[in-house]
């Protein structure tokens, strides 16, 4: 089960601080054993008190709503400045970087601020987008799909990009040449199967996808599916990273040439 549990589970609140402490701890990453102890206390309380259960369900809902809020569409900007500016604004708001045609990369600074100069040139198309590590999901992808001349797209380590998102990428098939999906925890080989629409793709990075069941075989099948594309997987380095007990199990997988 490689799907992440973190987005759906609440971290243990600290009860001696009262309910004020619960709100601030949703982002905290507790260490393993205290997390387990805290969660079993929480589970015990949730099983015996309906109020605690309702509170946990409410906080779960809030976490989900936060992701939705981050992926809301900026229709006002889209109507006023066009799809390229709206897409760029969306990406920059998420903390990603944007490169317009003929210009340099625009990134937000450490405080999350970025210059709004690109709004002065609404006709200039976006050439490359780096949304790595952002909370972009299926709905947020609407903003990206309007960028009809996008050539490079990096979605490394995005926790909410999954197979459903990949099935939407076919509308970028005419222009997309480079795509990187490395490290996304929800992408499996089923989503990679819909990348065959991207006939202009020349570079594809599918390394380090924990949800793919058989990385070596998947790499071979994707290479067969996209003959003009250079596919980067990390299968040989994965072999190096295995521990001694897992190495004997892995000798059955195909050894790449």
């Amino acid at each position: 089960m490689a799907a992440p549990r973190a987005p759906l589970h609440l971290m243990a609140p600290v009860w001696n601080q009262g309910t004020r402490g619960i709100h601030g701890l949703s982002k905290a990453v507790a260490p393993e054993d205290s997390q387990r102890k805290g969660r079993s206390l929480l589970q015990f309380l949730a099983d015996h008190f309906y109020d605690v259960q309702a509170l946990r369900e409410y906080l779960l809902r809030k976490q989900v709503l936060k992701v939705h809020q981050k992926n809301r569409p900026f229709t006002h900007i889209k109507e006023r400045f066009g799809p390229h500016a709206a897409g760029a604004y969306f990406i920059l708001k998420q903390g990603g970087a944007v490169k317009f045609q003929g210009k340099e990369w625009i990134r937000p600074n450490t405080r999350g601020r970025f210059s709004l100069d690109f709004l002065k040139f609404p006709e200039v198309p976006v050439e490359a987008v780096d949304a790595s590590g952002s909370a972009i999901n299926y709905h947020g992808l609407d903003n990206l799909l309007a960028l009809k001349e996008l050539q490079s797209l990096w979605l490394r380590h995005c926790p909410h990009v999954d197979d459903w998102c990949l099935s939407r990428l076919h509308s970028l098939a005419n222009s997309l040449q480079e795509l990187s999906l490395a490290g996304c925890p929800r992408i499996s080989e089923r989503g990679l199967a819909c990348l065959h629409h991207l006939q202009n793709l020349r570079r594809l990075d599918i390394s380090d996808l924990p949800a793919v069941s058989n990385p070596g075989l998947t790499q071979i099948l994707v290479e067969e599916m996209l003959p003009n594309c250079e596919v980067l997987g990390a299968d040989w380095t994965q072999g190096l990273r295995l521990g001694p007990e897992e190495q004997s199990r892995d000798t059955a997988s195909p050894i790449p040439a």
Binding site: A3, R5, Y50, S167, H170, S188, R190, A193, T218, L221
Partner: protein, 450 residues
Amino acid sequence: MLRRSLQFALGRDVLGRGLGTHRGGSTLDWNGKMSEIKKKIQSVLPGGAWTQLHDTSYLPPEHSDVYSQASTVLSVGGIRQQFSVPENIQLSLFSIDFLRNINEYLAVVDDPPLDIQFNPSGYLLLASEKGAAVLESNVRVQRQEGAKVCLMSPEQLRNKFPWINPEGVALASYGMEHEGWFDPWSLLQGLRRKVQSMGVLFCQGEVTRFVSSSNHAETPSGEEVTLKRVHEVHVKIDHSLEYQPVECAIVINAAGAWSGQIAELAGVGKGPPGTLQGTKLPVEPRKRYVYLWNCPQGPGLETPFVIDASGAYFRREGLGNNYLGGCSPTEEEEPDPENLEVDHEFFQDKVWPPLAQRVPAFESLKVRSAWAGYYDYNTFDQNGVVGPHPLVVNMYFATGFSGHGLQQAPAVGRAVAEMVLHGNFQTINLSPFLFNRFHLGEKVHEHNII
């Protein structure tokens, strides 16, 4: 003891309050509506589960596993929007939305998230010269409803999928998004887990009797009608002669292939033929075979769910060059639905030749396994029956989908919930699918039945 605990559970909602004191909430979303139902009404679903999937309720005692013959778990698991009836397209669109957000709809605190293993590879429908015009008009309707389907000519087909032999194909329609296949068992388990966490009780047994009361009323034109109301359902416990009478306010018939038998028990269709009292529920079990084969040179990762013009279909299964497929037999060749034995001759004669002609690589293949399942076949027009029965006033139907029930199940569930709570359909108008059409003779004909 069982009787008392059932009555106790059905009488109180989760928080211990009585039925009358819950908050009125017509502004709740669908999830909230489902919980409202559980708190508000005592409902009995033959099969003992409030799931709108094809549960089997009418099991002979030797089958101890409840879902062993259910159509859901034996299904190939595809979901598509390529139908000709707009309501079917809308049902399927909502269902795919549901499946995409399944971890928000069916989230249970402290349980791992569901993975339904959805393959978004799309459906490819091939049409010969004869069917090309129908296919084109269907695609127009589908696009109007919001499905993402594109039409392809034989040359485009050959370019995109080099393993296809486009001889005899005049037109093809390819679903780009929101179509594919998934694991029906995980959907079933997810629904069960969620409703159990909300307080629904499951009981396992065979429905043997409905106890109902009659009421005579007069129509505006002066005719006398007999309205029935089901009060109790007798559920016979497995491997014993005991039965449990379950008091209920509402009965929902979602018994899949056995819905016709359940409806007869409730008194649907007992009357002179040609009248509303005499109109039976025309759903019967039809056996369909599914074969799993291995073909080392077969199509690759991009293979969609291919449906040939001849009616034979196949799809990829996993990464090891395995494929699932089958074909619906013609009316004359219908196998006997008495059991679920597989006829391997059927594969040799009817499934393999058209598939081998369409995909030349399939000329050498090896069948690994096969199984059979039931369609809850609606003999009237092969479309679902949703909504209340006009005479048995508290019986609702959600059955008869003839092979596309799994993909419409979430949307149909919502529709029945709306019907029960509000008395009419609110989001998708399924009035063409009401029971009355059997008496009035209005067929809702669906062209794309596999």
